[in-house]
Point group: C2
Chain length 413, copies 2
């Protein structure tokens, strides 16, 4: 591993971050300050900050020989690198300005590009606390939050282990995909010897609006997605449903949030052969305006009791919106922040496309798990005829950091 | 197949295109005329038009039972759909405006999006003329151009058949990836029963500038790519090197161009471990400015005879730029129009990233083949230590069309 800092541990950290901090006032790759999402704060950026257009997500596994010190050094270097990249700067001594007889600290493909609102959000999987053999490799097993309980198996799951789980995750979002790709690549490079990529996922288009001012995008089923999403502008709701509060569990997670990731393949061909009215019945909203069935405007309230002239419920009993709605789930809600993906075609020539579902929450046990239990299985949400969950992840994303700290520091001190 | 037009063949064509044309004056998905690249013209759009930021490329195979009539109908419907989508409109009767008891004509995920400079460029592979068993399935074997000769095997090739070749190709480029993805998906849908996707490739960032005013982007090796590219503004060069001229071969290709596609995997990890000076030696240009070695500015001329103070050539004898340069290749040059890709990670946890190389030319035999022969093999271009060609395609892209025609019409009449 190369790095900004000489030593490992707390001293190196402070020096490293301070060094990077000293340059965050400088111009970015493109010589401008534009498009920078601040790195420091109570919460990690990339959760409540407005969803950017593109995603590169990666899950990492620690090397079997990595020590606690190596893990701390990795988190320190990731913090330093994330701080610089989110400010639109090169990692370390840069792509072209370091010692020319050494491999450059930065791979260079973001040279000249703006920060593009890059955010880097880091999370810890359950296997970081207790590995597959039950070992407490890093001396943190006792600090694993109850909320980081393995997700149960859901009806209809078709999960592939090799694209599920992971000791660590990094969600890199930006308005320019090259900036997001550059971020993951350079973090993977920094990790070499300590951790390696288990799987990664590109998302070409956001499927959620996360603030009231953001327009609702359309997912690969052609429907507006994110209409009834929890909005990050609503601080009370965020505290109630997204941010871990004092007393919820171990202190190191206070101000953090739990991320559930699900790669959900859409069975595009059957969906595309389905009549419009049936598509709308399945979702529970109209395709054009995105209004609840029976209403005309996107933000008209969802009234699950509304009936048509025939006395039948307007929003079908098995529709996605009804089954996902808070009133159906003891008030459970989520901050959805997913992305559409298209990864070529499968062996049968079918488009391998869908939703890389990402959702943040305060307690997955009462939020994602409750909602997904109500959705999962063909007896429930009719949407299941057209989708399949193929990967799953659950990560504890620690709170934000101040200058001189590394992400997750409170877990190791 | 559903479609704009009732019948098949020439009558349906004219009606269909006229119908679509009548609406091209209307507002696009987002209610604006902005960002539309015209569909009609002497040449297909997507070649000389400025390279957009994102790509979705797909190769299709005709069904074993598809007739010549079905192929003509497919090209007709593709033309109609491309005309509408490039104008920022829905396919057919639209995503939400058709008969609600039928599957919508358009899948809807581009509703509300601008045309985003979408271009749709269609090409014909050699297997369309003569299939694997030597059969003249569509009665066009006699009209196969000599230029559409199978590419030879090159030293170092590691081609996978399942992601190479194809009877037809569609290059969809747009500044919004969702628009490019939407285009391929809807064309694939229209093709159902007649042709199916053989493979497809997303490109997240352009790697070439194709006009003098476009800034040169950086590829995944961090280098500016496209500096010495043939520029589409240079009409004389385009006629000499890109557009098929009268008398070059069968008339139906006059005004068209030959597309070579190569998926080139980059061995990112070894590259990232290479010192800056070595990276620059390999390419033959500086990483920062993109200047020829020994010069300072990107557009300083490439002087292959220039020597350093030690008498050694400044641009290394095995550098990519020297071996690819026209003077090394009997004057051969190309219009490069490729895209960077990142498709997750491979079994070994290595980033599956690289360049989806696309290049247009008048005669592949004296252009791509000549240059690639000079590059291929470890004895030649030192870049080969860091790359591997894993797929290959060669397509004859017919000229542009007028209203009432379908792409490739002259081949079938
Ligand atoms: C490919 C799979 C999925 C698709 C295509 C999809 C699509 C949609 C759409 C179109 C809406 C209506 C617009 C909106 O309010 O955002 C919606 C709402 C919602 N979805 Fe999904 N969704 C999927 C998976 C999931 C999953 C896995 C969950 C959580 C377990 C979920 C939770 C929700 C919630 C909570 C709502 C808001 C319901 C309400 O309060 O009205 N969705 N989804
Ligand atoms: C991953 C593989 C490749 C990479 C990373 C790459 C990269 C580059 C770079 C950085 C340049 C210098 C900037 C420029 O003038 O555009 C360049 C030039 C060029 N490349 Fe490539 N290239 C690759 C593959 C190819 C292939 C397969 C061909 C054609 C067979 C090709 C043909 C050319 C040509 C013709 C030039 C311009 C040379 C000159 O006239 O100075 N490249 N390439």
């Amino acid at each position: 591993m190369f790095g900004l800092i000489g030593g490992t541990g707390a001293v190196g950290v402070a020096a490293g971050v301070a060094g990077a901090k000293a340059t965050t006032g400088d111009a970015g790759h493109d010589g401008s300050h534009s498009q920078v999402v601040g790195f420091f704060g109570d919460h990690q950026a990339g959760i409540a900050t407005p969803a950017q257009d593109r995603l590169h997500f990666a899950a990492f596994d620690l090397s079997p020989v990595a020590s606690r010190e190596a893990l701390v050094e990795l988190l320190t270097e990731w913090t330093n690198a994330a701080l610089k990249m989110t400010a639109g700067q090169d990692v370390g001594t840069g792509a072209v300005t370091g010692d020319p007889s050494a491999p450059p600290d930065d791979t260079g493909e973001a040279l000249g590009l703006a920060a593009a609102k890059l955010t880097v959000t880091i999370g810890f999987g359950a296997s970081l606390f207790t590995d597959a053999h039950g070992n407490d490799r890093f001396g943190i097993a006792g600090r694993r939050p109850e909320q980081l309980a393995d997700l149960p198996a859901f009806a209809g799951d078709a999960l592939k282990a090799e694209i599920s789980g992971g000791d660590l995750c990094v969600q890199a979002c930006a308005d320019d995909p090259q900036v997001a790709v550059h971020a993951i690549r350079n973090l993977a490079r920094i990790a070499r010897g300590t951790a390696s990529v288990r799987y990664s996922q590109l998302g070409f288009g956001r499927t959620s609006s996360t603030t009231v001012s953001q327009e609702t995008p359309r997912n690969m089923m052609g429907f507006k997605d994110g209409t009834a999403n929890l909005k990050a502008d609503d601080t009370d709701s965020m505290n109630q449903h997204v941010w871990v509060q004092d007393g919820d569990g171990p202190d190191w997670m206070t101000g953090g949030s739990y991320l559930v990731s699900r790669r959900i393949r859409m069975l595009i061909e059957p969906w595309d052969s389905t009549p419009l009215t049936e598509q709308e019945r399945v979702i529970g909203r109209t395709k054009g305006a995105g209004a609840p069935i029976g209403r005309t405007k996107e933000f008209d309230p969802v009234d699950l009791d509304a009936q048509g002239s025939d006395g039948a419920p307007l929003i079908d009993l098995k529709s996605h919106v009804r089954l996902a709605h808070p009133t159906t789930n003891n008030g459970a809600t989520l901050l959805r922040r997913g992305y559409s993906f298209t990864d070529g075609t499968d062996d049968l020539g079918r488009l391998d496309a869908g939703l890389f579902f990402l959702a943040y929450q305060r307690d997955p046990r009462t939020q994602f798990v409750t909602i997904q239990n109500s959705l999962a299985g063909n007896a429930n949400d009719v949407l299941n005829e057209y989708i399949q969950h193929v990967s799953s992840g659950l990560f504890a994303c620690p709170p934000g950091v101040k200058a001189g700290e590394y992400v997750g520091q409170a877990l190791f001190t």
